[in-house]
């Protein structure tokens, strides 16, 4: 039921996701290979949850390779940060969803007048969705190229003759149907249907008699009638009689149903899906902002490899922690001048892997035009992202594992260009330290040669001070209690290693504190 007959308007609007027709890429249905290592699969699952009907994942699987294409999305995302606009788009989406449900229902039903009524409601909802959206965009302070073009398109559509006629007819038939009232007289096995004449509401009469005893809430004895959408043959028969009592109204309905089968505009249909990319992401971001975590629109460069992010965090982990009501630790990082490689070492369980993942997530999310975790960030638009994380431990096959490690890293280094980002997590563990040091240094030489941006989590301290391109980051502990992890990763050289009144103070029970505390 999609058409674009109305496509007579200026067609300078293409897509809310892509700035022009050239940049529209074919939809990928497979996630990039590094998704699992970086927990991006979990992140995208969390973002798209509850939005399956839009099939949004393909949008998250394709990165953009053009800074202006990213900017195009940033602008739209920023427009949508306006609460009112955001809510208005959501309410548009909700209406479109309800409309689809109505059409599906109409398809399923048998009795003619019932089918037609559901269809009529679907069209009414659609008209309302379009009109509300036009109005809401009129009053919104739009700045993005995408929204401005769409607004123009939509306004023209809403003013078209086709649309206005559709709207008028829909309203008229709805109004007519709602005037219908009738009487049912049930006696033994007979039913009589008649036009309505007014009489006393008997239930109200009984309620009034016992009004004086009313004591507050009591049980509800009303029977629940399963409100099936379908009618049974008795109801259908009654409806047929009602149609005979009001023949003109029902003839109009038949006619309307025949005429308007293709009412839905294609461009609006596509917008309804694509805009959900932004809505889903912003809703996801809200979860984090609510607990005080920050997001920013990163500056993106494709030549300059100086990168930084302050108050960054791992989205997948943070999501889990927030669900558990635990607190989230943020980290800062920067690379400047010649620096290219973070070598992360330090105590286990101290957040090293999390740091590495966050670095990868940030770069990927930036490349699909989304705001990223952090107060302020500058990131690199890479041509590809490679990850090398330890695979499932397999004790039986030590030699195979080391070999596998080396094969994988070889493959990465042959595919990577100087514009790639590589993330390595605890590899070469399946051998002696001496071997590990040797092999790591060899791999490091390659990475430096390629001038790659890289995060490398390792227990090989020697890597930390390998060259001027490497920066040492260390996970930390609380000095007084080394068992406590802080999950802070800091830029630091790798180092391989009376009381009663005070309790009263602790409970805020001293004279001064009490005077503040007790309410008058």
């Amino acid at each position: 039921m999609i058409n674009n007959k109305q496509g007579v308007f200026p067609m300078n609007f293409h897509s809310i996701l892509f700035k022009n027709e050239d940049s529209i890429t074919e939809e990928k249905h497979e996630a990039p290979v590094f998704f699992v290592d970086l927990n991006l699969d979990q992140i995208i699952d969390a973002i798209t949850i509850g939005k399956q009907e839009y099939n949004l994942k393909p949008f998250f699987y394709s990165s953009l390779n053009d800074i202006d294409a990213i900017e195009y999305r940033h602008e739209i995302m920023q427009d949508l940060e306006d609460k009112a606009l955001f809510e208005n788009i959501k309410s548009f989406a909700q209406k479109m969803r309800t409309m689809r449900e109505h059409l599906a229902q109409a398809d399923k039903l048998h009795y003619k007048y019932q089918k037609e009524s559901w269809f009529l409601d679907a069209v009414e909802i659609y008209c309302d969705a379009v009109n509300c959206l036009v109005h809401n965009l009129d009053i919104a302070d739009l700045k993005s190229r995408g929204f401005l073009a769409f607004h123009e398109y939509l306004r023209n559509y809403a003013n078209s003759d086709g649309f206005t006629l559709l709207l008028t007819e829909t309203k008229k038939i709805k109004a007519d149907l709602s005037t219908i009232k009738y009487w049912l007289i049930i006696r033994d096995n007979s039913v009589t249907v008649r036009k309505y004449g007014s009489e006393i509401d008997y239930s109200a009469d009984v309620e009034e008699t016992f009004e004086k005893f009313k004591q507050g809430a009591v049980k509800d004895y009303r029977a629940e009638f399963s409100d099936r959408t379908e009618m049974n043959h008795v109801e259908a028969k009654i409806l047929d009689f009602v149609a005979q009592l009001y023949p003109d109204i029902f003839l109009n309905l038949d006619d309307y149903y025949r005429k308007n089968a293709n009412y839905l505009d294609e461009t609006i249909g596509i917008f309804d899906r694509e805009i959900q990319f932004y809505i889903a992401y912003l809703e996801y971001v809200t979860l984090f902002k609510r607990v005080g975590l920050k997001f920013c629109y990163p500056q993106i460069f494709n030549k300059d490899k100086e990168v930084y992010d302050y108050e960054a965090f791992d989205l997948a982990l943070a999501y889990k922690l927030i669900m558990e009501k635990s607190s989230v630790v943020c980290n800062d990082f920067y690379l400047k001048d010649m620096e290219r490689i973070f070598v992360v070492s330090g105590p286990n369980q101290g957040g090293k892997t999390t740091f590495a993942r966050a670095f990868g997530q940030l770069h990927y999310l930036a490349s699909i035009g989304c705001p990223v975790p952090g107060r302020e960030a500058q990131l690199f638009l890479c041509d590809n992202l490679f990850t090398h994380f330890e695979k499932e431990e397999n004790i039986k096959d030590l030699r195979g594992k080391l070999e596998d490690d080396l094969v994988r890293i070889y493959n990465i280094l042959t595919q990577a260009t100087s514009n790639s980002v590589v993330i390595i997590n605890e590899i070469l563990t399946s051998t002696t330290l001496k071997d590990a040091v040797f092999l790591s240094k060899k791999v490091m030489e390659k990475i430096i040669q390629l001038d790659l941006l890289c995060v490398w989590v390792t227990f090989v301290d020697e890597l930390a001070s390998f060259s001027e391109k490497t920066v040492s980051m260390v996970s930390t502990v609380v000095p007084e209690n080394p068992a406590l992890r802080t999950y802070k990763i800091v830029r630091r050289p790798a180092d391989g290693v009376s009381y009663a009144i005070s309790i009263a103070e602790k409970y805020r029970l001293t004279y001064d504190r009490l005077k503040e505390r007790i309410k008058s």
Binding site: Q105, L109, Q114, E116, W118, L177, I180, K181, Y182, W183, L184, I185, I186, R187, N189, S190, V191, T192, V193, R194, Y196, E199, I200, D201, Y202, D205, V206, E207, T209, K212, F213, K214, Q215, G216, V218, K219, Y221, R222, T229, M231, N232, H233, V234, E235, L239, V242, Q244, L245, A500, I501, I503, Y507, R508, L509, Y511, L514, K515, I518, K519, S520
Partner: protein
């Protein structure tokens, strides 16, 4: 229709939240003994007694007097009051007699409700008869209003019109329903209609006009018959609901009556028990919360009295215009008992009960809190002082000006100097916030520190010890002494063997 026997203008809410420190108060004052004496093993009476006593702290002076007068009427007419109480219980039970009423089958709900209403109407008539017969024996504002409400609302005409409904609602002539088209053109908004014309039945009127379209469900069409009975049910749904709810409302009226009377029945029970022992009782004189008043004669610990055969010792104190009472002195000298009698009498007065004393008057307090020394914490989670302070901190979170706070040997879990310092700081701050404090303590530095300040608003009581070491369990006004006669206790237990 409301009984309004606990409050002049509102129901007694059995769901009302008890004070947060309910458990501490119950334990520290031995409240279960009191509630047991009021309830005599009846669970419901226990619940009401507990609610009434513990929520009394939130009620105003006027409510206290309102209940006192009702209670006086109850003491005079106890058998009539217990009779009304029984009618209430019987009415509540009547609902259980009809199964249809709880059914999911709508016509059964309707007929069950009619049946139950019939019984309830009879109960209301009984109640009305008692009101007609005995109203002149009651003087309190509460009972007078209750009886005249019954007279006003339950006239003979009213009973007749109810009876009429109960007959008509059996629908001898079929049902008339109005409807409109809803979502998907399905019928909706089914409303049962009653003819306005009393002389001519609606059936007649409909069949004298040109008929509409009629169809019949054949005998073999089972699903059709089911659909038809559903339509019929939709028609009577609201009226069956209205009727069943009306029955519920009448039952709730009786429930509220029972609940409110339960408090007075509990008071009657307690009164009987104490009178039998010959213990004195009097209606206390409550004073506004802003004032400082506490004076009594023969005040005894009602819970101790309930658990002893012999009569108990009462105390006479005048602590008017005092904000702080520090009680020191001999071990086993009746300090704890005295502190409990202070708490109990305050609770009893504030819920409208009589006081366990020859005479009693005190200012109403906005909250009653107790901070007693507790057993060592067995969970090892915190030290003892930690535990005491943490409880104190909870109290501070909830206490307000014009509350009353009872300390029993608090803050002794450390050495005397530090304990006194903490107790001193806390007590001073409480006094400045206009909280009335009763403090039983062995902390000499703390107690004597206040004594030396010679403050007008502090009174010192001491457990009496005769020169031969005997206790009288009487408290007398007097300066805190440095020893609490623990030596006496030691000697008594260990004898003079050493």
């Amino acid at each position: 229709m409301k009984a309004f026997l606990m409050y002049k203008d509102r129901d007694f809410d059995l769901q009302r939240r008890l004070p947060l420190n309910k458990q501490a108060l119950t334990q520290d004052l031995g409240l279960d003994t009191l509630f047991n004496a009021m309830s005599l093993g009846d669970k419901f009476l226990f619940e009401v007694a507990e609610k009434a006593v513990l929520t009394g702290l939130n009620d105003d002076l006027e409510t206290i007097l309102y209940r006192q007068h009702i209670l006086m009427d109850c003491l005079k007419n106890s058998s009539i009051v217990r009779n009304i109480y029984d009618i209430a219980i019987e009415s509540i039970e009547s609902r259980k007699k009809s199964w249809g009423y709880f059914s999911k089958y709508l016509p059964a709900v309707l007929s069950g409700s009619i049946e139950v209403l019939q019984i309830l109407v009879d109960m209301l008539k009984k109640l009305k008869n008692i009101a007609d017969e005995h109203n002149d024996k009651f003087e309190s504002e509460g009972f007078t209003a209750f009886f005249s409400m019954l007279k006003r609302e339950l006239s003979d005409e009213y009973f007749a019109s109810v009876q009429n409904h109960l007959i008509e609602l059996k629908f001898p002539n079929g049902v008339l329903i109005s409807a409109a088209l809803g979502k998907g053109n399905k019928g909706t908004n089914y409303i049962l209609r009653k003819s306005q014309d009393k002389k001519q039945s609606w059936i007649k009127r409909i069949f004298t006009k040109p008929p509409g379209y009629t169809f019949y469900i054949s005998d073999r069409d089972e699903s059709g018959a089911k659909a038809l009975s559903e339509l019929h049910d939709r028609g009577i749904n609201l009226v069956a609901n209205a009727l069943a709810q009306s029955a519920d409302h009448i039952v709730s009226f009786f429930s509220m009556l029972r609940t409110e009377l339960a408090f007075y029945v509990g008071c009657l029970n307690l009164h009987g028990r104490l009178a039998q022992k010959g213990e004195p009782m009097s209606f206390p004189l409550p004073i506004a919360p802003g004032e400082r008043k506490h004076s009594f004669n023969g005040l005894y610990d009602v819970c101790l009295a309930l658990s002893l055969e012999q009569r108990v010792v009462g105390n006479d104190v005048n602590a008017d215009n005092k904000d702080l009472m520090i009680i020191t002195g001999a071990n086993q000298g009746g300090k704890t008992t005295f502190l409990r009698s202070i708490g109990l009498s305050q609770l009893m007065m504030q819920c409208g009960m009589f006081a366990p004393a020859e005479s009693f008057s005190s200012n109403v307090c906005d909250g009653l809190f107790s901070h007693y020394k507790r057993e060592e914490d067995t969970t090892m989670k915190s030290g003892k002082l930690d535990e005491e302070l943490s409880r104190m901190s909870n109290i501070v979170d909830n206490i307000t000006s014009n509350s009353m706070l009872l300390f029993n040997e608090s803050f002794a879990a450390t050495n005397e100097r530090e304990g006194s310092e903490i107790a001193g700081q806390i007590t001073s701050a409480l006094l400045e916030k206009r909280i009335k404090v009763f403090f039983v303590t062995h902390l000499y530095e703390f107690a004597h520190g206040f004594y030396d300040k010679k403050m007008e608003n502090v009174i010192f009581l001491r457990a009496e010890r005769q020169s031969d070491g005997k206790r009288t369990f009487k408290l007398i006004e007097g300066e805190p002494l440095q020893t609490s006669y623990g030596e006496d206790l030691y000697n008594r237990i260990f004898g003079n063997a050493c």
